[in-house]
C-alpha cells in the first residue's frame, strides 16, 4: 500500500507541475491587472510541442538531442525522493537529500553542455550565467537541508518529515526560520524565478535559463520545459515537506489520504500565491547582484548550522 502511494506521489509531482506553472502565471496576471491565460495552458503548450518536429543545428552532435532527455529523466527520478502525501518516498534512503541535490546538478550539467553545442553566443552566455548561479546556490541548499537534518538527528527526508510531525506546531526555532529563509532564496535561484531570472523574457540582457534553450524546439523543448516545471514543483514540495508537513497521512486509510491530498494542494496554493506576489512586486536583480543575493542565503544557512550546535 505504501509503495503504491510512493509511486503515486512521484507521478503526482510530475503531472501537477505544469498546472502549478499555469496557476502562478494566472495569479501573476491578475495581480498585474490582466486576465491571464488559462491555468491549463502549459499542458496545451506541451502537447503542441510534442507534435512538432525537432530542429537540430548543423553544428550539433549527438549530445544536443541527448541533453533534454537526460535532464527530464534525472528530474523525474529526483521526484521520487520527496515525501508529498506521506512520510516516506519511493527512492528515499539515508542521505537522500544529497543525492537529490546532485541529481538536479547532473541534469543542469547536461543542459549547459547542450546549450554550448548549439554553437551560438546565446547558448554560451546562458551556460556561463547558469554556471555562476548554480555554483553559488549549491552550498546554501545543502547547508540549509543539513541544518534541519542535524536538528532532527536523521539524514533522510522521510526522517525529517517524521521528526517534524512529532513536534509542536508553535515551536518556532531559530534553526528552522534561518534554514527556511536560506532555502527560499535558493529555491528562487534554482527554479529561475524573479528576482534571479525572468522565466518569460527573451531579451539577451536578462536571460539565463531561456538563453540556454534558445536553439531547442519540438519534443526536446517540451521535455526541457516540463523538466523545469517539475523542478519548481519539486522545490515547492521539498520546502513543504521539510518545514510544514502537517496533514500528511500517517495511516493508510482513505480518509487520511484525502486529508493529505487536500492539505498538500492547499499548501501548494500558498506557495503559488507567494511566488506570484513576489514576482509582481520585486524587480529582477542585475546579474552581478545575484552573487550578493546568494551570499545572503549562504550567510543564513551557515548561521542555521551554527545555531544547531548553540541552541541545543
Amino acid at each position: 500500500m505504501t509503495q503504491a502511494l510512493n509511486v503515486f506521489q512521484a507521478v503526482l509531482l510530475v503531472l501537477i507541475a505544469p498546472l502549478l506553472r499555469g496557476v502562478i502565471g494566472r495569479w501573476k496576471a491578475r495581480i498585474q491587472n490582466r486576465r491571464g491565460a488559462s491555468v491549463w495552458r502549459p499542458y496545451a503548450d506541451l502537447l503542441k510541442l510534442f507534435r512538432k518536429e525537432d530542429l537540430v543545428p548543423t553544428t550539433a552532435s549527438g549530445l544536443f538531442r541527448l541533453a533534454p532527455v537526460v535532464l527530464f529523466a534525472v528530474t523525474v527520478a529526483a521526484a521520487g525522493f520527496v515525501p508529498v502525501l506521506q512520510g516516506s518516498a519511493l527512492l528515499g534512503t539515508t542521505g537522500d537529500f544529497i543525492l537529490l541535490v546532485y541529481l538536479l546538478a547532473l541534469g543542469r550539467f547536461f543542459l549547459v553542455l547542450g546549450a554550448m553545442d548549439g554553437g551560438s553566443s546565446f547558448g554560451g552566455m546562458g551556460a556561463s550565467r547558469e554556471a555562476l548561479v548554480s555554483t553559488l546556490a549549491e552550498a546554501p541548499l545543502l547547508l540549509g537541508l543539513a541544518a534541519v537534518a542535524i536538528l532532527a538527528r536523521t539524514a533522510s527526508l522521510a526522517g525529517i518529515v517524521q521528526w517534524t510531525l512529532r513536534q509542536d506546531f508553535f515551536e518556532l526555532s531559530a534553526v528552522h526560520a534561518l534554514a527556511f529563509a536560506a532555502l527560499a532564496f535558493v529555491a528562487i535561484a534554482e527554479t529561475g524565478r524573479i528576482p534571479v531570472d525572468n522565466p518569460a523574457t527573451h531579451l539577451e540582457l536578462t536571460m539565463i535559463h531561456e538563453a540556454m534553450v534558445l536553439e531547442y524546439s519540438g519534443p526536446s523543448l517540451a521535455l526541457i520545459e516540463w523538466a523545469s516545471a517539475i523542478k519548481l514543483s519539486l522545490m515547492a514540495a521539498l520546502l513543504i515537506a521539510v518545514f510544514a508537513p502537517w496533514g500528511m497521512a500517517t495511516t493508510a486509510t482513505g480518509a487520511s489520504l484525502a486529508v493529505a491530498t487536500a492539505a498538500y494542494l492547499a499548501k501548494l496554493a500558498v506557495v503559488a500565491a507567494a511566488v506570484a506576489v513576489l514576482e509582481s512586486s520585486v524587480a529582477k536583480l542585475r546579474m552581478y547582484l545575484v552573487p550578493d543575493f546568494l551570499g545572503v542565503a549562504s550567510a543564513l544557512a551557515i548561521l542555521a548550522v551554527v545555531f544547531t550546535a548553540l541552541m541545543r
Partner: protein, 516 residues
Amino acid sequence: MTLFSAGLILIEGDAGQRRHNVFIYLLMMHAGTAAVIATFFLFLPHAPGLDFAAMRTAAISMPPGLRAAIFLLAFVGFGTKAGIVPLHLWLPKAHPIAPSPVSALMSGVMLKTAVYGFVRIAFDFLGSGPAWWGYLVLAAGAVSGVLGVLYAIGEHDLKRLLAYHSVENIGIIYLGLGASLVFASQGASSWAALALVAALLHTINHALFKSALFLGAGAISDGAHTLDIEELGGLLKRMPVTGTAFLIACCAISGLPLFNGFISEWLTFRSFLAGGTLADLPAAIVLPLMAGTLALIGGLAAACFAKVYGVAFLGRARSEEAEHAREVAPAMQASMVVLATACVAIGILPGFLLRPLGAAVQEFVKGAVLPVETFSIARIMPWVALAVVAIIVLGRVIRGATRVTRTWACGMPALDSRMQYTSTAFSKPLRKVFARVYQPERHVEVVSDTSGYFPAAISYQSVRTTSFERSLYRPAVDAIVAAAHRLRRLQTGNIQIYLLYIFLALVTLLVFMRFL
C-alpha cells in the same frame, strides 16, 4: 619515483622553461623527502628496527610533544608530495609538461602514494591524537580544494587545468582524512571509519577519472595537435570515442551521480553530517560547515568541466587543427574506454569496493565498525540508475521527425566559430565574483590614429599570477639566499683560517665532553 618521473618528463626535451619547472619539481620533492626522513629519524631511538609493528608499539609510549612533532613533519613532508596548498607549487609546473601517460601516472598514482604514507603514519602508527590534528588537516583540505578549483577555472591550457584539479581532489581527500581524525579524537570510531573509507574511496576514484582525463588530453593532443582549449571545438563529432570517454570522466570528476566521484563525495558529506551530532561544540560547528565547503568545491568543479567539455568538444571548431582532427589509434581509445567503464561501474555498483575498503579500514581505526548506513548508497544507486536509464531509453525510442537547420543568428547571414563563447568568457563571471583570490592585473594600451579621436589599435593583456608565488615563495627564497650570502663570509680561501676552524671545533668538543 621522483627521479624516474623527472627523467620521463625530460624525454620530451629540456628547453628553458621545462628545465626550470623540472628543477622546481625536484627541489620540492627533495624537501618533502627530507621531512619524511626526519619523521623516521624521530622514530629511531624508540624503534630501532623501524618495522611497522615496532613503530606502532613505540608510538603509544611517546610523550605528546614528540607525537605532535612526528605528525607535523609527516604532514608537511607528505603534504608537499601530495600537493596541498601552499606546498603545491610544483604540481602545475611539473604535471603539464610531462607526456600524457606520465601525467596520468603522476596525478593518478604518485600523489596517492603520498596520501598512503600520511595515512600510514598518522592513523596506523600514531593512532588517535588531539583534535587539532584533525582541524589542521581539515583546514589544509578546505584551502587546497577551494583554491585548486578556483585556479583551475581560470586556466585554458588543458593539462595545467587538470593539474590544478588534482590539487582540488587531494583537498577533498584531506577533508575526509581530517574528519576522520576529528572523529577519532572524540572517540566516535564508527564515524571515523566512515570518513576514512570516504577518503580512501576518493583516492581510487581520482586515480581512475584523472587518468582517463589525462589520457583524453593526450588523445586530443594527438588528434588535434594542440592543448589550448581556446583553439579547439567540435571535437565530439570528429573524435566520438575519445569524446564519450572524456564526457564520462568529466561527469565523474564533477561528482555527479551515476559516476564514481559522487559515491566518495556522498560518503564524505554523510560523515560531515554526522559530525553535527557530536557533543563537542567546536567539532559540531566545524564539521557541518565543511560540508558547505565541499558543496562549493563540487559546484565549482562542475562549472569548470562544463566549460572544458563545452568549449573543447562541442560547438564549432575554432581553428584549422580542430577542424581536421582525427580519431586516435584503437589502443589509445581502448585505454580510455576501460577507465570510463570503471568509473560508471563503481558509480552504479559501489558495494563491491566498499566492502573490502571497510575491512581494510578496521586495522587503521581501532575498534571501528562501519555504521549501518554506509551501504545505503550502494543499495539505492542501482535503482536510481535504473530509473534514469529507463526514462532515457523511453525518450530515445519515442522520437519524432528531425530536421537539420542553421543555428539562429538573429537574422544575420552566418555564424562563424569566433562568435561562440570562449573558455575565458565562460569563466569570466566566476572569476569576477572571486576576484580577491585571483587579483588580476590588466594592461590596456591604446594607440590612437592621426585624428586623435579613434583608436588605431588597442591591446589588452590580463595577467594572473598565482598569489602564492608572490607572497610566500619569493620572500622565503629571498631570505634563504640572503642567509647564504652572509654565510659566504666563512669561505675566505685562506688555508690557515680553515685550519683554525678545525682547531676551534676540536677545542669546543673537548670542552663539551668535559662538562657533559
